[in-house]
Every structure is written in C-alpha cells, then in structure tokens.
C-alpha cells in the first residue's frame, strides 16, 4: 500500500508501508512506475495536513505519559526529551519497552532510538531497522553516526545525491573532510546537520502544549539564572494559574514548568499532586523543590507554566473563626512534598488483604485514600518484624507437633525456653495451582517460641509433620515478636 500526492500533473508516491518497501518502491517514485513493480498495489490519497495533526496528537499523548518535553517531527517522527524521566519507569529500558508496546498497540509500525543528540536519535531510528528500541549509550553517538549513510543527516535529496557522486557514502568520510570546499558547494546546512548530530551545536526542541489548558508565561527583559529569581517567577506563575483554574472550577493534579533558555533549549520540571489543588503557595513550593535540576546555562529568557492534568474541584466554604484552631494537619501538602521527592509508590498506608498467608495479608493503599476502618483480626499473634522471604533454619524438634527445642539461625544457636503453637495455615489452592514456594498444597505449622534470653520468634515447619505430601518438613523463621 502506498499514499500518493499530486506533483506537476502526475501522481507520485508520498509514503510506503513495509510490504511496498520490500518490493523496491520508495517515496518520490511515480505511481505508474510503482504499479509496474506491483500490479495489485493499493493507492490512497495522502493527507499531509491530517498526518501532521496525527503526529501532534501522538506527541501530546506521549507528553502526558513519558516526558513533558515533546515535539512533532514531520513528516514521520516525534521527539521526546526523556532526560530525567526514566526513573518514573524504573529504568530507561522499561520506559522504551512501554513506549514501544503502546505505540505498536495503536496499530502503528514504530522504530525508537535514544541517543545523546536529537540528530543522532533521528538517524538511528530511520536507518537501523532493528525492530526494537535502540539505545546509543552516552558518549557513543559519534561512533554510531560514523557508520551511518549520508542520507541519515536530514539533508535535501539533491545534496545527498551530489555527495554520493563525489564518493561520500558514510558520515565517517564526511567527518574528517575539510569543510570549506564542501560548504561552498552544498551550503552551510550540511555541516550544521553534521554538528547537530555529533553534538557540537545544540539542537533545541520546541515543545508543544495541549490547547485549552490553563497556561501562563513570563518573558524577561534580561535573562535570569539564579534559583531565587526562578522561585519568585514560579510564585507569580502559580498565582496566575490558580486564577485561571478557579474560573474553570478545576484543580491541578500535574504541573509542568518550562524554562526557555537563551540558546533555545527548553527544560522542564514536572510535579504531581495527590489531590487536586488550587493553593498557589503549595504548588509553588512543589515546583521550587525541583528548581536545582534546571541548568540555566547562559540564562533563562522565559518561563511557561502549564497544567496538563486538571480535575474538577469545587470551592469550599471558608472556615468559621471557631474551627480555625481545630483544623487537622494539612496532610495533602506533606504527602505531595514527600511523593515528589521519593515517588508516589514509596508513600502508602497498609490495609488488610484477604489471604491466609501472612506475607500476603497486607496490601498498600494510597496515602490519602479515605480511611475505611478495616484492620486485621486481633486475636492472632503477629510479629512486628517480618523476614520476607522466610529464612531456613536448623531445628531440633520432636515430630509431629512438638515445638522446637533449639534452633540455629544465621549461625547463632537459640535455646527455646517456652513455646506456643502450632497455628496451622493451609496454602491457597486457588493460587498457582495450590503451590506455595514450589510445594503443592503447602501446610505451615507456626510456633511462637521464646528463647532463654527472652527474645520471641515466629518459626514454622513446611508440612504437617506426618505426611510428606504436605511439605518437605523443613523449618523456617518468619519474624520476631515484641
């Protein structure tokens, strides 16, 4: 299948899919010629405007999910500045995997490349058909560029053709060549593209923002470069945006603050809130906490604050004088401050989880979820420090149901003075075919033991002590009591 555009009274191929490319059809060919390669070729009219709009939508989607700094790269790419975003997915590899999976799920064929410079990523994505995300390690982009063909430098086809006639095939050959004669013949673009790809000349992305979202911008007469100045501007921007949010009846859940550098680079900081917020002080404080990640370079000439994620938030009636003294702590502000430093997943409450196995009897709940009052059964003794996974120990005990008389844990010998038990827990047959740690139909007999020194531990035996089919009769320590 190919898309066609009219050109001087004839129709030429604008873009091709994989099957057509395999047949030797490439963009720029006339449709008549393409048909001669494949009589059954399907031709649709190209819609460059719709393509651009689609790219923009894709870029905005990626901006929601991966990085605040995104830009469409017509005709067929998008840029994502993922600097400092990888930790949200644990690693860069996980981020790429997620991006690849999701874009492929849209029905698009996708090639992803990551590199130090935008030019290098662009070249690798288009000229290394790996089928999976390609990462050029930091500092390796020069080596990677050297092997690629001249066409990967984003040059006019005429220039590429001209260079080829002169015998230049790969970028490597171009790097060592004297510049003046080539520049005279092909113009300055050639070396600008080369330097951009190699990282000698910066290539800023012009980030795009979703429309209709509260946004405000401050431009400066003189560039600013100090954290104090940034914080002042952030304060101003926050109070501006809060005004816009209040008119819409919305509260911010996510804020992106863009710093436009004098050399055209845009950097961004992104913060999230646990609950929709319209408190300018709170929002400014969250942003200010991340200002040190910004590299001001020669100075920042403008700052933009956008709220990519907003949620409805109704105005609340102000509190009366008598309730002023009894107000609870402002937990949302504290939770946001901690979550933006350590990550949302590191901040949680625990809640009971219906499971017979103690290590699965707790689950995490969001820190600000409304309390439901649920808790565990009070009559079962549980250790305050749990070893997960349980550690194997050597035990002297009489079968089938006597508590241990002695155990060795971490090469230390503990003599048991008193004990209570057993509390028998049966494996959950509905999970993993009833297997628990590789044992089918696991039975655990738990004993609380007190050593001669007074320390209390929670030991269990895998198996019921009589039938070997219930477990291998090995002993484990699972925690320590108060």
């Amino acid at each position: 299948m190919v898309a066609a555009i009219p050109d001087h009274g004839r129709r030429i191929v604008a873009s091709v899919d994989r099957a057509a490319r395999a047949l030797g059809i490439f963009p720029g060919m006339t449709i008549t010629k393409a048909r001669s390669f494949a009589p059954g070729l399907e031709v649709v009219d190209a819609e460059p405007e719709a393509d651009l709009e689609g790219l923009r939508r894709l870029a905005l989607w990626a901006g929601q999910r991966y990085s605040p700094c995104v830009a469409p790269d017509p005709p067929d790419g998008i840029w994502l500045d993922i600097t400092g975003c990888a930790h949200l997915f644990d690693s860069e590899r996980a981020l790429l995997k997620d991006l690849h999976r999701r874009v492929a799920a849209f029905g698009l064929s996708v090639q992803i490349a990551v590199a130090d410079t935008a030019g290098c990523a662009h070249a690798v994505a288009r000229h290394v058909p790996a089928g999976r995300p390609v990462t050029i390690e930091p500092g390796e982009h020069r080596k990677a560029m050297a092997l690629l063909p001249i066409a990967s430098l984003r040059l006019d086809p005429d220039v590429v053709e001209g260079l080829r006639k002169l015998g230049f095939e790969r970028v490597e050959q171009l790097i060592g060549e004297p510049r003046a004669p080539l520049a005279k013949r092909f113009g300055r673009t050639l070396h600008r593209r080369l330097d951009q790809a190699l990282g000698f000349v910066p290539e800023p992305l012009e980030p795009i923002f979703p429309d209709q979202l509260p946004r405000c911008r401050r431009g400066f007469v003189e560039p600013i470069a100090t954290a104090d100045a940034f914080n002042t501007v952030i304060g101003d921007l926050a109070s501006d945006i809060v005004g816009q949010l209040a008119r819409l009846g919305k509260g911010a859940r996510r804020l992106d603050c863009y710093f436009h550098r004098v050399d055209g680079h845009a950097q961004a900081i992104r913060v999230g809130t646990a609950a929709p917020s319209r408190d300018p002080k709170h929002l400014a404080k969250l942003l200010s906490a991340k200002v040190e990640t910004i590299d001001p370079g020669l100075g920042i000439e403008a700052m933009t604050l956008v709220t990519p994620l907003v949620e409805p938030m109704v105005a609340r009636q102000g509190e009366g004088l008598e309730s002023l003294g009894r107000r609870g702590p402002d937990l949302a502000a504290l939770v946001d401050a901690l979550a933006n430093r350590f990550g949302q997943a590191r901040l949680y409450r625990t809640a009971p989880n219906a499971s017979t196995m103690p290590e699965r009897s707790t689950r995490t709940a969001p820190a600000l979820a409304p309390p439901d009052g649920n808790a565990w059964d009070d009559d079962l003794p549980r250790p305050s420090r749990m070893l997960n996974p349980p550690e194997p120990i050597d035990v002297t005990a009489m079968l089938p149901d006597h508590p241990p008389a002695m155990f060795v844990w971490r090469r230390k010998r503990f003599r048991v003075a008193r004990a209570d038990g057993p509390e028998r827990l049966l494996g959950e047959w509905w999970r993993e075919h009833g297997h628990e740690a590789g044992t089918p139909l696991a039975v655990r007999d738990y004993y609380q033991v007190e050593t001669t020194a007074g320390g209390r531990y929670w030991l269990f035996r895998l198996g019921d002590g009589e039938s070997p089919s219930t477990g291998p009769m090995r002993w484990f320590i699972h925690g320590a009591f108060a």
Binding site: A375, A453, G454
Partner: protein, 243 residues
Amino acid sequence: MRHSSILEDLRARIARIEGVCARHGSLPFGLDPIDRHLPGGGLAAGALHEIAGSPDLADDASATIFLAGILARIEGPVFWCLRWRDLFAPALHLAGLHPDRVIHVEAGSDANVLLAMEECLRHAGLAGVVGEVTKYSTTASKRLQLAAEASGVTAFVFRRASKAELAAEGTAAMTRWRIGAVPSEALGIPSLGRPRWEVVLERVRGSEPRSWIVEGCDAQGRIALPAALVDRPTAAEDRQAAA
C-alpha cells in the same frame, strides 16, 4: 508569696536554658515510677527521642512495639519513615496503632530517612514521626530536635540493630531508650505469657539514667509493671495497669 513567685520564675528560666521544659506538654506512660522519673511527668512532646533495640532482631521487634504503643496513645496521623521493608503492620495494630493512621514512607537510605523526617516535622498536627536509621550524626539530631520544637510534633529516631557500646555519641535528643526482650513469667502451662522488656533510659535531659522491667503493650498500647517486680513488695493490686 513574692519570694515563691520569684523562685518559680527562676526555675522556669533555668528549665528553659537547660531545654528540659515541656513546651508542648508531655506524654505520660501511665506508670508512676517511669513518669515520676521523667522531667515533665512523661516523654516531652514536640521533641526528639531516640529508641534502639540491639543487633538481635527480637530486641528491635520489642522496640518497634514499645514505639507503636507510645504513638497509639497520641491523637493524629503517624509518619513512619523506613529504610527496610520488614515492618509488619498487623503487629502495630495489635499494639493499638490502627493502619489507617500510619503513612509509610520508604525513603531508602539513612540520609533520605532524615530528610523525610525533617519534612514531616514541619507540619504541625501529626501524632509523631518515626525514622528508622542505622546511625546519624549529632548535627542531624540537632536539626530534628529544632524542627520538632518548632512544630510541636514528637519525633522518634529508631536506631536499628544498634550495638550497646556505640551509644556513646552525643545527641540533641531529649531522651534515649534501649529496649531488650527478657524472659517472661512462667505460666506453668506450655504457652507464652505477656512479653517482658527491659526498658533502659540511657540518657535523659534533666534527670538520671535508669532501667525498668515492664510488661509489653496491651491492645491500647499501654505497658504495665509486672506484679512480682513492682518496687513495693506489699503491692495491693495484682498488676498495676497503666492508665
């Protein structure tokens, strides 16, 4: 009359200079011998306290419940800043600390735990902030103490797996405790009685170090004195329950 008011004023001033006055009130244990020994009649609120177990896991477990018992008796949310993932919430609930009240912060390292604690201590109205660390500097303890004084939130640094001989470093904390498990009362049947701890007050501003043997927390987080070990042999009550 005049003289006594002058004396009162002087005493208050000295207390302020020494930093032992309970500006934010105090949290009594409800056990007379301990409360009488502590200046202010209990743990000072809005101050830093240090708690340690020992390299033995059972002692750390006891210290955890000792701490949970103190927090269970204060109103408000609790922030528990963690370095390890071995804290088991059902046990806190057994000591009276409901899971809805506790927000866990997995900070990951000593430095991050201290950072998280300091951030929490800036917010008034919390019941308490707990931080689990291996060691921390005197400077860090001063920062936490100042933050706690300013907001009135009580801070607890829980020194995990801390060896007794390393406790000599200086600290700005109001009190320093060491909790260890000791053998419990023999019941005469194959079962376990209420756990017993040796509670050592290693350091306290404005009083002397001392130690007690107590019985572990009940479901309301109260500790008790064992009947046989109450100082007075003629104690009328069987067991002196803590209020």
